[in-house]
Each structure stands twice: as structure tokens, then as C-alpha cells.
């Protein structure tokens, strides 16, 4: 509260182009500990706009004009709010408060630790078990006689950014694991990410070897040998280095680098060429600018798209996934994936490959499990990458944005293969940034355990699952041959589109977009209701039919889940 100098400003004008507004509406602005709230004056609508402080990526204050001064609020979900404040003094205060509130310095300031959805303690504890990774490995058929659980990393002794429970090749002894981890950047030794039951080939992940120009480690070589031996059908493995070869070579000067094919027998090294987080950060800024262009000419738009390089990067990530999926499913060869530290590009490549390989990950629950596995548990640095706390801006990068976009591009190519729609992906994107739930907080499992997040916050997955009706894709047909088995996408450049739903809010709402999927969902729901009514009529003896099915249709709720916390708990805070 100490950061809020002016909790309430009247006669403020707010322009939200992303909601289709052309003219600013007049109302009152409130600052609470967690939200910026704008309430329209218009007594008929009294529309409320809630912006979570942690969703604000920047607050700009352009020079004042005679009519008042302006604040531009840019959000992490790419929405932009223009706020016009009559008194300059107020605008200075609001600006200062928002700058401070949108950049929390400690975890304890974060919303998820004060956010309290209507659930009791048991339900909260239960919520953390919603995605069960052990069950997911079991679903893949692990452990088995090829892959076994290892206790090597219990209490995070060997690698503090890995999960405590891991699966490794059966022939990998603890000595090999520890030796291999000493030879890998940040101790991230090769561990199982996905096991493909049909071919017995596996996707494993690790970080770059500390090979420099000539270094080698017997244990690490044995580890890779063990990975190969755990696939009875092949006599070599692919080592996929997702970096451009030049970057990998440059790393050798720093005592890191990539596997020397002379030292490791039976490996085939493959470079994919996904650029580093810094390139991606500036590329995304450019595509955001393209999305914000107002009435661009075709040349401006296409040039902006090309110049951003964004789709090129998306294609590189998808290409990596396609390479791995093809090796595993078509050739039956196991793949070991790494980049530098093995927590950004490796997570992207492994999870895209899993989506292509396994229809389960194309369901709502499956995608949750996949993100929980390849991203949360394997130590993707959420808090650094998505700027949960005020920190080094060079650590920030849209890594998971790119994964979600790859899934979206795939769903455009295979419209019947995914159980969820675009809104689900956008909702996950929002919550990765929002800090409303504890799921994505921190940078690794150990950090989350030390913060006791399970006791102090809630998991996002049960909440998303509760709203699954809104996220369902009515075209999804699990039994369709296209939806089954391995997806083989076309990755020629013209198959990639700009994700308007995420980057172009302006166009999304003016004029209201027609969505055949929503239309279909409504028709489906209606016919279901009619069928229910019909059965009711048939069951009830003549003379006394009951009508209880009516009015169960949901109102169109706000697509990014903003409506969820409308009016909740804010009252007392504003007055402070």
C-alpha cells in the first residue's frame, strides 16, 4: 500500500483499442494493491476494466498537453491502454505508483501469495496434484526394462535445477550419472523427456558438454552409450544441438561447446539453428509493433513481418521438433537434445516433438502435463524469462510464447487434432505472466519447494480445467485418422501465419470476428440441450414434465479470464 500515493482519480478518460473502443470513455480510476481499476461513469453500463499490476510491462508518460496528461499502459498480453488524466500532479503520482507496483522486488509482493480463490485448504493441496508427472511417465510405459527411475537427484544433490525424480537408461549407474553431470553445464545430465512406445526410441535432454577444445569425460561418453543401448532397435543416437553451429563453436572458447564425434562412438550430431534469447526478445518486440500498426499498407505489413524475423524463428523451433519426431517415429532412433543450459531451446524442441508424437499432449489435460513436465519440472526459468520480479532485463525472453505459437500454428494446419482452441493457449500465455497462480513462479522445482508455494498459493491447472468448456475445440475428433498418431506438418514458409489472436488485439474486435468454431460449439450445445429435453419428456410420465434445463447457457465471458476476478476482494484495498 505504501506505494500508492493517489488511490482514486476522477474524470479520467480511458481508451482501450483492444476492446474495440474508438472513443475514450470517462470514468474513475482506482489503484489497489493488485489491480488498476477503471469504472466508467456512464450509469447504464458502468463497465469495469481491471488490469493486474503484474501484467503491466511498461508505463509511459508522454509530455503533457493542455487538455491533461497521458499514460500509456503496455501489458504483457500485448494490450495497450491509453489513460488521460486531467491534473498533471495526479498523473505523476499514478505513474510513479504503477511503475513501482508493476515491478515487484520480492516474491512476497506477488499477487499469487495474496490471491485467494474460493477454495479450502484441502482443495488447494489437491490442486497441486492435478497434473501427476509420475502418472504421465507411466502412461508412456516408464519405468520399464529400458528406462528406470533414479534417486541420484533426490534433495537436488546432483543438479539443483532438475526435478528430484528422473528417469535414466537402465545401464546408467549413479557413478555414470554423477560423472556425466560434472561434465555438463550446470550439472544438467542426460535424462528422459519422452519415451515412444511404438518404436522404443526416446527423447532425452541435457545441457551442453564442458568439452572446450579437447576435454572429454569417460562417464559422459558412457552415459550417451547407455542412452543408445536403451533403444534395442538402433545402433546410434542423434545428438541435436538446437543452436546455430557458429554459436556452439563459440562456446568452446569458454570451455563449453558440443560433443566431439571422435570421442563419442555412435552419435550423429545435428545442429538446428534456433537463435538465442536475446535475438528472440528483440524479434518479438518487432512483431508486437507490426501488430499495433494502424491501417498499414500491404508493403509495410509484409516488410514488417519479414524484418521482425519472428516467423523464421517459429519455423526454426517447429523444424527442431519435426526433426526429433521424425527420428523417433520414422527411423526409430533415440535423440538427445541440448542447447546451452538446456532449459530454453531444449524445452521448446522436446515439447514440440512430444506434441507431434503423442496425441495425448494435444488434449487439454495432456498439454497441461506436457508444460508441467518439460517446462516447469525441468527448470525453465519462468521468473527470469517472464520478469515476475524486477531484475535483469537481459534475462527476459519469450521462450514459452514461441512454444505456444508453434502449437497454434500446428492447430491451424490440423484443425481437428487438438482438443483445445486458441483461447486455451492465450489463457496459458496470460497466466505464465500474471503471477496470479503459483504454478509458474520461481525458476526451478527446488526454488518452488523452498518458497513453500504449494502451501502459500494455488495451482493454475484446476482453474483452467474448470473453464474447459470455453477452451474446447468443437472440431476435435480424437478418432479421426488425422488426429491419431504422429503429426507430420508442412513447414514450408507459406504455412506460417501471424498469430493475430495474440499480437493484434485491434483487429480482433473491430468488427467482431466471426468464429465458426464458436458458432459450432453453440450449435452443439443447443442440440445437446434439446436432446436432454427430449429424454426428459420421454422419461417423465405424461402430465408432469419438468423444465430444469433451461437457462444453463453461459454468458459470453471475457476471453482472457479477466472476468474471473472481477469484483473479488478489491473493496477494502482501494480505501487504504
Amino acid at each position: 500500500m505504501e506505494h500508492i500515493r493517489t488511490p482514486k482519480v476522477e474524470q479520467v478518460r480511458l481508451l482501450d483499442r483492444s476492446a474495440g473502443q474508438r472513443k475514450a470513455s470517462v470514468g474513475t480510476l482506482y489503484l489497489s494493491a493488485t489491480h488498476t481499476i477503471f469504472v466508467e461513469n456512464n450509469p447504464e453500463t458502468r463497465r469495469e476494466t481491471w488490469v493486474l499490476h503484474s501484467m503491466v510491462s511498461s508505463v509511459e508518460r508522454p509530455p503533457s498537453t493542455p487538455t491533461g496528461s497521458q499514460l500509456i499502459l503496455r501489458c504483457k498480453d500485448f494490450r495497450v491502454f491509453h489513460i488521460f488524466i486531467p491534473q498533471e500532479r495526479d498523473s505523476v503520482d499514478v505513474h510513479a505508483s504503477l511503475v513501482r507496483l508493476s515491478r515487484p522486488e520480492k516474491y512476497s509482493e506477488l499477487y499469487c501469495l495474496s490471491f485467494n480463490p474460493n477454495v479450502n485448504k484441502e482443495e488447494r493441496e489437491e490442486s497441486w496434484n492435478f497434473t501427476d508427472l509420475t502418472a504421465d511417465y507411466k502412461r508412456m510405459g516408464v519405468p520399464n526394462n529400458l528406462w528406470v527411475a533414479t534417486a541420484a537427484n533426490s534433495e537436488y544433490r546432483v543438479c539443483d535445477t532438475y526435478p528430484s525424480e528422473l528417469f535414466v537408461p537402465k545401464s546408467a549407474t549413479p557413478a555414470i550419472i554423477v560423472g556425466s553431470s560434472r561434465f555438463r553445464s550446470r550439472g544438467r545430465f542426460p535424462a528422459l523427456s519422452y519415451f515412444h512406445q511404438d518404436t522404443l526410441a526416446a527423447v532425452c535432454r541435457c545441457s551442453q558438454p564442458l568439452s572446450g577444445f579437447s576435454g572429454r569425460s569417460q562417464e559422459d561418453e558412457m552415459m550417451l552409450q547407455a542412452v543408445m543401448k536403451s533403444n534395442p532397435g538402433s545402433d546410434y543416437i542423434y545428438v541435436v544441438d538446437t543452436r546455430p553451429k557458429l554459436n556452439a563453436m563459440a562456446n568452446r572458447a569458454a570451455g563449453k561447446g558440443y560433443e566431439n564425434e571422435d570421442h563419442y562412438t555412435n552419435i550423429k550430431l545435428q545442429f538446428i539453428g534456433i537463435e538465442n534469447i536475446h535475438v528472440m526478445r528483440s524479434s518479438q518486440q518487432k512483431i508486437i509493433d507490426v501488430g499495433e500498426m494502424r491501417a498499414p499498407s500491404m508493403t509495410d505489413f509484409l516488410w514488417g513481418l519479414e524484418n521482425s524475423g519472428w516467423l523464421k524463428h517459429i519455423k526454426a523451433v517447429l523444424d527442431a521438433g519435426v526433426f526429433i519426431a521424425r527420428a523417433v517415429a520414422d527411423e526409430g532412433i533415440s535423440v538427445l537434445v541440448h542447447c546451452s543450459d538446456g532449459w530454453d531451446r531444449t524445452a521448446q524442441a522436446c515439447s514440440v516433438a512430444s506434441i507431434l508424437l503423442d496425441p495425448y499432449y494435444r488434449t487439454i489435460k495432456g498439454l497441461m502435463a506436457l508444460i508441467e513436465k518439460d517446462w516447469v519440472s525441468f527448470g525453465h526459468k519462468f521468473s527470469h524469462r517472464y520478469a515476475h520480479l524486477d531484475g535483469d532485463p537481459k534475462e527476459v525472453s519469450p521462450v514459452i510464447d514461441q512454444f505456444l505459437e508453434c502449437v497454434w500454428q500446428l492447430s491451424e494446419q490440423f484443425p481437428c487434432a487438438f482438443e483445445f482452441n486458441e483461447r486455451f493457449l492465450i489463457a496459458i500465455h496470460t497466466h505464465v505472466y500474471s503471477c496470479q497462480y503459483g504454478t509458474f513462479l520461481g525458476n526451478c522445482q527446488k526454488e518452488r519447494r523452498d518458497m513453500r508455494l504449494c502451501e502459500r498459493s494455488h495451482s493454475v491447472w484446476p482453474q483452467l480445467w474448470k473453464d474447459r468448456a470455453e477452451y474446447a475445440n468443437p472440431l476435435y475428433k480424437a478418432e479421426l485418422s488425422q488426429s491419431q498418431g504422429v503429426l507430420r506438418p508442412n513447414t514450408t514458409p507459406y504455412c506460417f501465419k501471424m498469430w493475430k489472436g495474440l499480437y493484434n488485439h485491434v483487429e480482433k474486435s473491430t468488427p467482431p470476428r466471426q468464429s465458426p468454431a464458436d458458432f459450432l460449439a453453440a450449435v452443439k450445445e443447443e442440440s445437446q440441450q434439446l436432446e436432454e429435453e427430449l429424454t426428459n419428456h420421454q422419461e417423465v410420465p405424461p402430465g408432469g414434465p419438468t423444465h430444469q434445463q433451461q437457462g444453463s447457457r453461459q454468458e459470453d465471458s471475457n476471453p482472457d479470464g479477466e472476468a474471473n476476478h472481477m469484483g473479488e476482494g478489491g473493496g477494502s484495498e482501494e480505501d487504504d
Partner: protein, 462 residues
Amino acid sequence: MEFAEHIKTANVEDVVLRQPLHPPSRGTLCITGHHLLFSDREESSSRQVLLLLRNIDAIEKSVENLLGYPGFFSNAGHSERMSGSSGTITIKCKDLRVLQLDIPGMEQCLNIAHSIETLSCLDSVSDTYPFFYRPTDLSLEDQWDLSSPEKHYSQMKELHERWRLSSVNRDYLVCASYPPAVIVPHSIDDDTLKKAAKFRQGGRFPILCYYHRKNGMVIVRSSQPLTGANRKRCKEDELLLQAVIDGSDKGYIIDTRSSQQAQQARMTGGGFESKSCYSRWKRLHRQMERGKSLQESLIKLVEACGDESHNMDRWLSKLENSKWLSHVQTALSTAGLLAECVERDGHSVLVHGSEGTDCSLLISTLAQLIMDPHCRTMEGFLALLEREWVQAGHPFQHRCAHSAYSHARLQQESPVFLLLLDCVWQLWRQFPLALGFSEALLLRLASQTRRRPNTLKRFRRK
């Protein structure tokens, strides 16, 4: 004319057909006067390709004598064959398909290639396939009835008060490219029309093409007025246009050329409606590309699509460089402007460029799709195309003689109709629930117009 003289080899066995995204198949190739037929003659899951020769845009042939250069130019596939020589014909179709045929025997290959080259571009219209095509379930009499000005007029009762059906063009004497019956203002008699027609290029005097029920405003189209360098006037033309906006304070003219282009047109006898002579009309210029530059744009686009480097930057820059999407954007925004003039501002609009047979039709068609839900039904859309393109005299045969692959020197080729289909597709993408037809109809229309430009109509008239 006998087609047989062009066919030296009618049948070849053991031909291999390769197509992208299909496994190669081996079978028999057959050439007839109008078609190329390939069949693998398998009992189950047989694969047949029936290709209209007219659909072929360009062919490339390469023959080799295996005795001299064993397998030198060949794919792995041929060298297995032990015959003396063989050849490959690559066929690029106007609907942008590409087929490759490996034919054993050099002579046979050359014969086939020669037949395709000759038969795919016969000059005489009456030798083309529509004159030979006899669908079993249709008779010639009743299928031309999809839409006509007569029918259009009779359906629009609201129109009858101020507009009439004129048969001034009964024998195509006033305007060769107009239908026999046209809809014109009631107050204008046929003599005035005849005089006005002399003042418009190709005799295309202003006629009604759309009536907006909501406010009674109309879209009228024509060709450019022949004002020439010394600013000629035509009283009848001015009268005719005055009658169009009778009772309303003003009308808009959307000229699909830039104002500079319109000025320049006066040097060659064309021109535009000057403010002093048509005081109640306001001219708006929207430059739209047509003719050669549109064709070149399509060629670049197809080339970009065929790029095999899989490089995102190269694709986007080639796409941008082709300018095709810019043309799509211009067409849609100009049509949007037209619709706004009629629907929002409540004024009648005259559309023309120079000949009034290309961009004018494109704009008026799109505007009708935008404003009139009936045009967005399957039946309404086909009727719209019949009225606005076939009957309105779009020179399909000249515009669609060649497509993006042909090496023939460009003459009057221009993919305006394809541009229209692309614009409709874009509308469908933006309003997926608003159209009563799907992409499949648009694709079919695109390939039909390429294969056999709709010429029957013109000939029936003459």
C-alpha cells in the same frame, strides 16, 4: 478440322507419372483431340488423370539417349530401364498444377510433346472443347438461364418505377460487349442511349448493375467517356447520368485509374467526366493495376510459391515483391469505398476505368457481395458472376489465354477474374459464416476459367 493430324502417337505404355505429394505411378498415356489421359490400369485403387489439353500452360521436354550418356540427366528411376532412350515431359497447367511424365522411347516422347504443344493452343475458338462437350444430364436450351438482365429486372419490382429494360442492343449493334437487354433510367429513350454509347469507349454506355433496396441508390457502370484532348461533350451522356441521380443531390464516380492516368487518357481519345459538364457528380480516383502488371504480379507470386529453399525471409520478401496481396488489398478497399458511398452516404455511384471490362467489374462485384446478402448465397453468387462477368463482357478468352508458367509473349492476359476470386476468398476468411459457398467453389471456378475460357456465350451472340 481433324485433330488426328496432330497426333502421331496416341498411346504409350509404361509411362511414369510424377506429381508433388503423390507417389510416382506407372501406366498408360493416351492423347486425344482435347485430353491427355493417364491410367495405371490397376484393378483396385486405380489412379487416373484426365487433363484437358487447353489447361496446359507450358511444357518442357528433355530427351536423352541412354546409349550415349547412360543415366546422365536422369533420375534414379529411369536408369533402371534398359531401353535405348527415353524422355521426360514436364507439364505446367494453368491451374498451377505441375505433372511430370517419363516416357520410354525418344521418338514417342517427341511426338507426344508435339501433340500437346499444338493441341493446347489451338487458335480457332470453335475447335475448343466446349463445342464438343455434351454433358449427358443437360440440354443446351435451358442452362443459360442462370441470370440475365431480363430476369434480374423482373425480380426487382422496386426498380420499375424509375428504371426500364431497354432492348436497344438487340443485335449487339450499339455495344458488342453488352447483353441484348440492359437496364437504364425510365426517362431516357433508346435514341439518347445510342448517342450516349457513341461517346463511351466500345459503346459501353452507363447501365444499372445494382439497386440497393435499403435506400434506392444504385451502382451504374460504363467505360470511359471519349472526351479527348479538346474536351468534347455529349449532351445525351450528361442527360443519362443526370437521370441516374434524378431526385438526389449528387452522385459519385469511382474511376479505377489515378487522376494522372485519367488525364493522360485524353491524349488517346479517352478521358473523364469533368466537373464543369457533370456538376453534380464527384469523381474519386483509386488507382488499380490491371493488364500486364497484374499478370507479372501473378507470375512472381507463383514463382514465390514454388521456391524450394524453405527460407522464411526469402518467401516473405518474394511475396511482398510480387505485390499480389497489395492488389487484393486495393481491390477490397476500393470496393469497400463503393459500398460506403452507397450504403452509408446514400448516393448512387458510377464505376469505370478505361474499357470498363476489368477493374470496374471487379469493384462492382465485390461491392455487391459486401452489401447484398443474397449475392453471398451459392445461387446468388453464381448469378452475380453470370451478370457481372459473362454478360457484362469480360474478355475471358483474351485474359485467360495463358497463366503464370507460359513463356509465350504476353498480349492481353490478365488475371482479373482470379484476383476477384482471391478477394472473395479473403472475404470468406474474414466472415466465415457469411458466405453460402466454400473455398471449393472458388477453386473450381479458378480452374474452369483457366481451362476453357467461357467463349460459347460470345459466339451464341454473334
